[in-house]
């Protein structure tokens, strides 16, 4: 994850870069983040945290994250993306019960008496939920007293503009500028 820090306070800039990196890792989002820009202006105060994700968040089904095959009345699943293994197991247990689902290894599962099409279409991670988690991680990284926030979301770019008291129009404009920059948007956008 590339992080660009725009700050006059040398200590604060360095600290927030580390803080942002650590928090994104803690919440498991560092891998999904391509780059980030942190604008720190505590003298105003104004903070703009802009994040570009590696891919646009979309809903993931079991078919997207596991290989599925059927033998007789048993459907076998081999998880191909480790990050989703707990979610897959949770959904299968929740829908079909623990008696019908057997986890043989960390990535291999068997489901009894359930058609393959019913399993493959199960949504295990929604794009909206994913975006909420990203925004939550950004809020968590920001200073605690900076409570007035505005969030821009476009495709794979998320930008949070925050201040302590009133969000002035120029602050939103500045935040939008950083949002467009991280999106890589053209001048006509």
């Amino acid at each position: 994850m590339d992080i660009e820090v725009i700050a006059e306070d040398g200590f604060g800039g360095g600290s927030y870069e580390n803080l942002f990196r650590e928090i994104m890792s803690d919440v498991g989002k560092a891998f999904h983040t391509e780059k980030a820009a942190l604008v720190l202006r505590p003298e105003v105060p104004l903070f703009v945290f802009s994040v570009k994700l590696r891919a646009e968040p979309s809903s993931k089904t079991i078919a997207d994250t596991a290989n599925i095959r059927t033998e007789g009345s048993i459907t076998h699943l081999t998880v191909t993306d480790e990050r989703y293994a707990p979610d897959i197991l949770k959904e299968l247990w929740g829908r079909f019960g623990r008696d019908s689902v057997e986890q043989q290894t960390r990535f291999d599962m068997e489901v009894k008496d359930v058609p393959e099409k019913d399993i493959s279409s199960i949504v295990i991670a929604s794009g909206e939920e994913y975006l909420k988690e990203i925004v939550g991680a950004v809020w968590r990284s920001m200073p605690e007293g900076i409570k007035n926030r505005h969030t821009y979301i476009d495709g794979s770019a998320v930008t949070v503009v925050a201040t302590e008291e009133r969000l002035e129009p120029w602050m939103l404009e500045e935040g939008l500028g950083y949002h467009k920059k991280i999106m890589g948007a053209g001048k006509d956008v």
Partner: protein, 306 residues
């Protein structure tokens, strides 16, 4: 401080008593025991040797007999637990009893504030460590949080703030907001520096007490109180905590004030040589301030004259 097992610990307590020393704090966890003690200089060798003989370790803890508040702007996850808990833990390793406090409205730059009640609670301790954040302008704008505190204060912050001379007693920089524990060598050095600065500001307070000593040592009153049944039966951790100029007794003020004031030590009632007040946190603890010798003498003269 003795750190070891409970094996033959009764003998250790007897030895401390024989030397004329006192146990400041005793914490037992399963089979392990930590004893903070105060013993005469001449007997340190004998006690250390005995501690080693029973399989424990002894180290000098400069902050023994003090209670220190570590204060953060809030109890939110942005300010807690790192580095505030690391600082509190490090001070405990130096022998202090510590409490961690978050202010109700301490967050933000322009909106940060501290209430009178919070100030009075902090003033009950021997010293306070205020841990602020990473931005110089924010720290400089938030000096009102600690400028009216009467006890010695140490400011811990990321950058070095300017223009706050006289608003706190010491500053340690290089520790800002963090999302992980302070484990690196440089971070451990910062923690050592904080403990050193706390020791330094407390030594000023100790010097002032040397000029006009307390009428009686807090440890002597602690001994007496430990025989008082409600204190003896108290299940709260550290029912009696030593301060430099008094004690915190963790039993109800309303129920026990009179009984404590009527206790006698060296032929005087405690009520005559100490001031008792309920803790500002709630009245389930008593704050006892011991009068100085000059105060007691002045009062005696007043009574004799009247």
């Amino acid at each position: 401080m003795y750190d070891g097992g409970i094996y033959r610990s009764e003998e250790l307590f007897e030895l401390i008593e024989d030397t004329g020393g006192t146990v400041i704090q005793k914490t037992r966890s399963s089979q392990m025991l930590t004893v903070t003690m105060s013993i005469p200089d001449g007997d340190v060798g004998t006690v250390s040797e005995f501690c080693r003989e029973i399989g424990g370790e002894v180290k000098h803890v400069p902050l023994a007999g003090t209670e220190i508040a570590v204060v953060g702007p809030t109890l939110g996850r942005h300010h807690m637990p790192h580095p505030i808990c690391d600082i509190a833990e490090h001070l405990r390793r130096q022998g202090a009893i510590t409490v961690v406090m978050g202010l109700a409205r301490g967050r933000g730059k322009k909106t940060a504030q501290i209430s009178l009640e919070e100030k009075m609670i902090i003033d009950e301790y021997d010293a306070a460590v205020f841990s602020l954040g990473n931005f110089k302008t924010c720290i400089e704008a938030k000096t009102d949080l600690f400028s009216d505190i009467k006890i010695p204060t140490v400011l811990v912050s990321g950058p070095v703030p300017e223009g706050i001379d006289g608003k706190c007693d010491a500053i340690v920089s290089g520790v800002g907001r963090k999302a992980s524990r302070m484990r690196s060598t440089s971070e451990r050095e910062r923690l050592d520096e904080i403990a050193e600065k706390v020791g330094m500001v407390l030594s000023d307070k100790k010097k002032a007490l040397d000029d006009d000593p307390l009428f009686i040592y807090p440890a002597e009153i602690k001994h007496l109180l430990e025989e008082y049944e409600p204190v003896n039966m108290c299940l709260r951790p550290a029912p009696v905590v030593l301060h430099l100029d008094g004690l915190r007794i963790k039993i109800g003020y309303g129920e026990h004030r009179e009984a404590i004031e009527n206790m006698e030590i060296y032929g005087r009632k405690i009520g005559d040589i100490c001031r008792l007040s309920p803790s500002k946190i709630n009245d389930s603890s008593i704050i006892m301030r011991i009068k100085t010798r000059s105060e007691v003498r002045h009062e005696d003269e007043g009574k004799a004259g009247g």
